[in-house]
Subunit: 667 residues, 2 copies
């Protein structure tokens, strides 16, 4: 076996070991008093119950698809890779969430006993475990699958496994978290008039569970998919562009990124300003990766051509994150304009939020377009198109090289949020809540930035997989002037709209069930409002779980089935058009919805900070309406689109041989 | 000159004569009492003042672009065609609006003196004038330009002229009408508590003017552009597919459609149920066109191949209209679901409206995709791609063949709406308002259907022009697997988002100026509320006019400038990608926004009909919020996107020679 494969596996093992070490650090912390342990156990049980039921449902899906793969493609190896990819994704999600639900109560206790610095350490360590799991399992899985099979076509199965789990994790998690959130808010806060995270609210546990299954497990599965997809694409195209060296360079960047992230984690210290500390960590990881990738490019290829896409990818990622921050943070004009418009009522708040969200697509799209060109031309695509296409996949790998660090920073947010919830429910001293609030505020910014990063990486990954698809089908191109291709592009472009409509109404359906249940408990359980009776938390957890699992089926199937139908009926080139259409509108809609949601959220918080009459004013009421509309935008539909665009390209890539052989014979 | 060219010009002349006859019929009617004449004169003056100022601003734009054309393309003939196209569009808009503003007061008087039947006759006749002007000037302009130059490349200038005027008419008109509407509603109805169309409301005249400049002139310019664009594309592709015969068939269908529409107009009679009568007219026009086109296809070509796309286009148009009706009419589930969701507040109303709008893209997109395939394959594209591409342009011509009738039915709505306004302001008897209301209710349905038709025709026209572009550039295809093409596609896809964001915030800006002015008048003019003092209507008209003209500049320039930049920097193939991207997301966003807006509007009316507590209930308040959000969706941003996608393809087509020679030399 080549040295680089061994090194990649070693880097992956290092990530897992470091993750285990961090998990140990978290477990070692004191979980606090009895009440805290009790509340925390509710959340843990709820989250685990959801994961278990979700995974049970997914087993059926995975088995069916594995059989289809084995039979349809006549490749048992692909089916096995598929199952392995699914298991790795499940593992990363399971472990990440297990640790996150441990870290939350310990963060609350650290804030109580030791103060801000230690609280940050615990919360960030919890996030780091998830990050390390994702990259460790990702790089090991892909490398092992490739070294055994030596056939990139078979390895696509691994990526499909990761994507399938990601889809249901993101969609299901997104529906879960918003159903619980809306239920808790509308009935608890608005109707019953009790504060956020009050233990008398029957949906409060479900709400906190939702933060974990949506923001931790969902996001982790999303980036696991991007990570695996980008590596797969680099392998597929690397081998045709440069032979073994191409594959090695792709894996090496990933390995370098892991080591750089581990080093960077040590620079996040609780004794500094949290935001600066987290930023510092990200910059160190990116900087170290850039330097090492440059050196390696020169050594392997004798020039910097394959390095240019790597730095392009990293710069694209950072720039999109900055643009996202501009459109969603209260310090800048867009959010303040939404707040201003809230003074004339809910409709002007909504119009300006939608307008901000749509406008926020301009910057990221231009950055992506430039990034594509730089990656292609820089890698030498003007002379040899294959080098340029490999460059596009390298830009995705570059952007995702520091995924471990990105996830750590991102998953830290919901852990801090949960810690605040536990502090509230356990009636810890006021200053504890202040500490967790300040951590949470930083977390909100990092979450918005993380969403931007997730979208950008999804765009580049899907593009890289799309390019791999063209290579795999042997098509000379995807010519949108052909009628079946333009038809495919139209249908592909429509899918994100249909998908968003479905996921939004899914949240509505699930939320109304939750509202009914919370109202019922307030009505039927005596003493609940005096704190004398404990609400039936488990019932609410159960409703969110059931509704999420039920509602995720249709959108999930659409994502898998439509590409296959188009590939068979209209042929492989039309399916290429479908992928291009879905990629374009999917990325646009994801940016639009995520940023509009983030902007509404922060416009509300901005007003709550005392502007335009503050809490309780008419402007605030209008802003609350906008925030509620934004919830499914930014936490369900928007993020789910990342998965949709990637999954469509992966499904197409896996079944490509089938379409080439049988597709488009009907006209 | 070939017989067919003479016949086409004769058909056009017939349309103009018939239009003149209908205009005479309208003018012959009694305008009613002095008060009615006075109020009507305010509306006429306001509308004409807007048009004059708009045209004055456009002269600069037209002159500059004409110079650019003459110099850049070294073709004075193209520049002259461009100016002719612009003048024809202006003429159609001017005459159509002049007659519409005459028809409104006469419709009110007919309702007062003669009853429903005559009122329908007058209102529909007013709309028919606009319809006949559009097709008459369109077919004459294109035919004359072609017979003189015998060069389709030069004739594209005519289409560009039509598109340029259309852009500003739609965007400016859309901003005007909504600024006035929101100003009149928010301050007059909500704050001052006076009813709709009350003469004490300073913005009431501006509001009625808005219906004319937005719904009559804007829509007419939109369909004039589609009509001209489709014919141009049929000429461009017809000549390469079949030589002169191809051109002749395209023009013949248009001529047939005109005659069929004139016949159909006679079947719309006031003595029957208005909705049925209008429907009957549309079906007769479509049926006659289909039969004649089939006969002609067999005679000219000895087969039905070129006929299949014509019927495909007509069926696509009718189907999209039906789907639009399903998603926007109160009789069906989607609108009722929005009404249901209004019971839990504004945010659930908004979420369900957005969801309905997004879902409503599915049907039309599938229909368009199938239509494209049928048109291409049916025309013989499987054997010879050129025949198939010609088929796509024929489907656009087919769909637009009955444009005269479609406009007549569509423009009738705002005339009836205005008539109601005049009846209210002049305090005519209650039963007059009932008649105009019943006409208006039918008009709302036809307006929604007309919007669906406008989108569908824009999609097919833009597609046909896109296909012509590929032919004109001599490209072998538009390969989206090339990096510069995918970059172009991303940027093209983003344009409709940016455009919608700009037009929505333009409405916001203009509306807030209007709100300030109306509030000022209520405050500063004593006796306004007792009806003792006349409000300064002209001030409000002026504000809407100025704001609309100011706000339309940036979106207008973007639509023209961005394609040219991309064509020069990234080259003609990337510009093809940009067109494809803009076409896909433009059509999707147009359907989404128009239908969401229509659905919100009718959900509000559905509740006002007595459901969920009726007027004044919490559900109604929530529905009003949704309706206000929907206003710029359905009347400004959505319809403007039709123009955007067509204009981008026309600009690309006109400047194609330039891009082929100089474009994309930078990398």
């Amino acid at each position: 076996m080549e040295t680089i494969y061994i090194l990649a596996i070693v880097a992956g093992a290092l990530a897992l070991l470091f993750g285990a070490y961090k998990a140990g650090f978290v477990s070692k912390q004191e979980p606090g008093n009895e009440r805290m342990i009790e509340i925390s156990s509710y959340i843990t049980e709820g989250a685990m119950a959801f994961l278990q039921r979700e995974y049970k449902a997914l087993v059926i899906f995975v088995v069916v698809l594995a059989v289809v793969l084995a039979a349809g493609l006549q490749s048992v190896a692909t089916a096995i890779c598929f199952i392995a990819g699914a298991i790795c994704s499940v593992l990363a999600g399971y472990v990440g969430m297990k640790v996150a639900t441990r870290a939350n109560v310990r963060t609350a206790n650290a804030a109580n006993v030791h103060g801000l610095g230690r609280a940050l350490d615990v919360a960030f360590s919890g996030g780091a475990v998830m990050g390390m799991c994702v990259v460790g399992l990702g790089i090991i899985g892909i490398t092992v699958a490739y070294t055994i099979t030596k056939d990139p076509t078979i390895v696509t199965g691994f990526s499909l496994g990761a994507s399938s789990i990601a889809l249901f994790a993101r969609v299901g998690g997104g529906i879960y978290t918003k159903a619980a959130d809306v239920g808790a808010d509308l009935v608890g806060k608005v109707e019953a008039g009790i504060p956020e995270d009050d233990p008398r609210n029957p949906a409060v546990i479900a709400d906190n569970v939702g933060d974990n299954v949506g923001d931790v497990a969902g996001m982790g599965a999303d980036l696991f998919e991007s990570y695996v997809g980008a590596l797969l694409s680099a392998i597929t195209l690397g081998v045709v562009a440069y032979g073994d060296k191409g594959i090695q360079y792709g894996l090496a960047i990933a390995a370098i990124g892991i080591v750089a992230s581990i080093i960077a984690v040590f620079f996040v210290k609780g004794d500094k300003d949290p935001q600066k500390s987290l930023n510092m960590g990200e910059y160190i990881a990116a900087g170290a990766t850039i330097i090492a990738s440059a050196v390696l490019s020169n050594q392997l290829f004798g020039n910097f051509k394959p390095f240019i896409p790597v730095i392009a990818g990293i710069v694209v990622g950072l720039t999109i994150s900055k643009i996202t921050e501009y459109y969603t943070a209260a310090e800048y004009k867009p959010v303040q304009r939404i707040a201003d418009e809230s003074q004339t009522g809910a409709s002007t708040n909504i119009i300006s939020g939608l307008s901000v969200g749509m406008m926020s697509t301009v910057g990221p799209i231009i950055v992506i377009a430039i990034g594509i060109m730089v990656a292609f031309v820089g890698a030498g695509g003007s002379d040899d198109a294959l080098l340029g296409l490999f460059g596009i996949s390298l830009s995705a790998v570059g952007m995702l090289s520091t995924t471990a660090m990105t996830i750590a920073v991102d998953a830290y947010g919901p852990i801090a949020d949960n810690a605040g919830g536990i502090a509230e429910m356990c009636e810890l001293p006021e200053n504890v809540r202040q500490i967790t609030d300040s951590l949470d505020a930083v977390g909100n910014t990092t979450a918005a930035i993380g969403k931007g990063f997730a979208i950008g990486s999804a765009a580049l990954t899907a593009l890289a997989l799309f390019v791999s698809y063209i290579n795999a089908t042997g098509l000379e191109g995807i010519d949108v002037s052909k009628p079946e291709v333009i038809a495919g592009t139209f249908i592909g472009g429509m899918l994100p709209f249909a998908f968003s409509a479905l996921t939004m109404s899914a949240v509505g359906n699930a939320a109304s069930k939750m509202i009914d249940e919370v109202r019922r408990q307030f009505r039927e359980i005596p003493g609940i409002m005096d704190g004398k009776a404990t609400p039936e938390y488990a019932k609410c957890v159960d409703i969110s779980t059931g509704a999420a699992l039920h509602e995720m089926i249709v959108p999930g199937l659409i994502a898998v089935v439509v590409p296959i139908i188009i590939g068979v009926v209209l042929g492989p080139e039309a399916l290429g058009g479908l992928q291009a259409g879905a990629l374009i509108t999917g990325v646009l809609m994801a940016i639009f919805m995520s940023n509009a949601g983030g902007a509404w959220d922060n416009a509300k918080k901005y007003i709550e900070g005392g502007v335009h009459g503050g809490k309780g004013s008419e402007a605030h009421k209008a802003a609350v309406t906008g925030d509620t509309v934004g919830d499914p935008f930014k936490d369900t539909s928007g993020p789910s689109l990342n998965i949709l665009v990637k999954l469509i390209t992966v499904v197409s890539l896996v079944f490509a041989p089938l379409f080439v052989q049988f597709g488009g014979k009907f006209f």
